[in-house]
Amino acid sequence: MLQYLIEKEFKQTFRNAFIPKLILAFPFMVLLVFPWATNQEIKNINVTVIDRDHSSWSKRLSEKLGASTYFNLVNYVNSNDEGMAVFEDGKTDMLLEIQPDFEKNLMNAGAADVMISANAVNIMKGGLGSGYMNAIVQDFANEIRAERIQTSGKTELPLIQVISQGRFNIFLDYKVFMIPALIVILMTLLCGFLPALNIVSEKEIGTIEQINVTPVKKISFILGKLIPYWTIGLFVFTLTLGLAALIYGLVPKGNLLTIYLSVLIYISTVSGLGLVISNYSSTLQQAMFVIFFFLIIFILISGLFTPIASMPQWAQIFTYFNPLRYFIEIMRMTFLKGSGFSDIWRQLAALGVWALALNGWALMSYRKRR
């Protein structure tokens, strides 16, 4: 019996003009487009320098800025007013104001002020830009100090240089960080929400009525819906792993078996969520809206973009109720750190509990309908 239901589901899915293409397009989007688009490194910040000193050192500082890949030196003006005008026109994101007597003060007093102003409408750009520029100015100061020590022969304050190294992702490549997490979103859509929408559309079209008067059992009906999407989900997952290795050389450091086991547990969790939603929705519109609601909240508090540790305490508590959070952690840990079963069992157990709870709920709410 189940076999015919699955056969029918596959037939319908592949006959659909849109869904099979989307299923195939998704992994490519996840690999080729999203990692670049979700990049949070800020580059090409436009900077205008207000040079009121016109000394060789002030020039050297501006050149140093321009040489950085983070900044584009777009303008070079003489007064504060001119600088603000460029700022307000939106032609520049940041201002670096070098005070008069910059060189003289540095030579004589060993200290001089510069002022950095950043357009903080885009907080990310403003914040990171100020940070980068600060670092460059610091670097400049260190250079000057080092030169002066050499020429004067004085042994002043020893310089402390911090060298940072990105463990598990040496080049701090944003793509490597994003791909495992984006795969989670992909699985959520394919194995959680797609079957839910399918069931609701049977309700809306009324075909479920005709099925309900046949001897087909509820459990067969539900499995007949889920198994095709689980199959498709695992196929797409494998495809994505292959493509990630091929395109970015991103090969999971962890054991593939552990990864597939985690995927299976995750799939059953989100399927349960999808079933609960489908049980409570009678129209596609309703189901879609509920799905959007959950998807947006789940993504925002999953740690996909922003680290959970930097969320306020109450938001961190919310993340415990989010299956995405656990699977994103699992994926990043197994992919990048090569974590094994002993490192991720807590997350797996949490997913397992959610799988039981959601599927149990789905089963209970289904029975009530009869």
Partner: protein, 304 residues
């Protein structure tokens, strides 16, 4: 009011079924029986509760109170076995629109653990008409063909009782006539048919009918007896402006009831017929007249 069949011969029993949706009493104390091999019609306007009753009898929803058995099986406790034995064609086309005619039929056959070949003789006459389009997707069929496919799918497991919820709604008059002929053939095969329709003229095709209104059964009888039970003389009349005539008639103290029926006015007088009314003529009442009379007066004159 209710005539009991010999219960040994009846295949469907319904006893005091009630169903309420919020403030609306969808069904109130519905009791009736259907004899084996009968074509039993549920006749009533939209919203009378016909579909709700069908959904209870086919085990899709639960009644608030009351009992029902179909083919000896309780609709609540024996629903699994029941579903193997009944065929149900919902009012709305409910087959898979993205599967072809043939695929739909095969799917429903396999779901019922049978094959198309096994019961092909039962659907042959119906299916033959859509067989030329068997590779066409069900969603692309015309209304009449969809209905034939739906009937084929509801029959493919050779049910003992066939439930048809408004099968002729939205179907052209020729196809409707054909459809009733098909039902008579199925009856000859020994299949009991419970059919609902809002069309009063189709009532005459049934062996017995139940007139249903606001969730209550007004009367259950053979169409002939229902017509014979019409207690008054019925007249028809018509003029250039039927609406004006109707208004006049309603003011006439001698007129007990007057209503439009197609291009004629149907009139019942309190005493003697008023011959001044244009084109007046005594007629034999139809089911519709009985239905309206029942709604207004509550009872027909039944002789058992």
């Amino acid at each position: 009011m209710e005539t009991k069949n010999n219960s040994q011969l009846s295949i469907l029993h319904s006893q005091l079924i009630n169903k309420r949706y919020g403030d609306v009493q969808a069904l109130k104390d519905i009791s009736f029986e259907v004899g084996k091999g009968e074509i039993f019609g549920l006749i009533g306007p939209d919203g009378a509760g016909k579909t709700t009753l069908f959904r209870i009898l086919t085990s899709l929803i639960l009644a608030d109170s009351g009992q029902a058995t179909v083919d000896g099986l309780d609709v609540i406790n024996d629903f699994r076995e029941l579903r193997k034995r009944i065929g149900y064609m919902p009012g709305r086309f409910s087959l898979y629109q993205d599967l072809s005619v043939e695929e739909n039929l095969n799917f429903y056959a396999t779901v019922f653990n049978t094959t198309v070949e096994e019961n092909y003789y039962l659907i042959r006459d119906i299916y033959k008409q859509i067989e030329p389009f068997k590779h066409r997707r069900a969603g692309k069929l015309s209304g009449g063909m969809k209905q034939k496919l739906a009937l084929s799918c509801a029959l493919i497991h050779k049910p003992t009782v066939l439930f048809l919820d408004e099968p002729t709604t939205g179907v052209d008059p020729v196809s409707r006539k054909e459809f009733w002929e098909m039902l008579k053939k199925l009856k000859a095969e020994g299949i009991t048919i419970v059919v609902s329709t809002p069309y009063m003229d189709e009532a005459q095709q049934c062996d017995r009918i139940a007139l249903i209104q606001h969730g209550k059964i007004l009367s259950i009888e053979t169409p002939e007896k229902i017509i014979a039970g019409f207690p008054e003389k019925l007249y028809q009349a018509h003029s250039e402006n039927n609406y004006l005539l109707l208004l006049d008639l309603r003011k006439n103290p001698n007129v007990k009831s007057a209503f439009m029926s197609g291009e004629y006015l149907h009139i019942v007088f309190k005493s003697e017929a008023d011959e001044t009314i244009p084109n007046l003529k005594e007629i034999v009442p139809a089911i519709e007249d009985c239905f309206i009379y029942l709604m207004e007066n509550g009872e027909l004159r039944m002789e058992n």
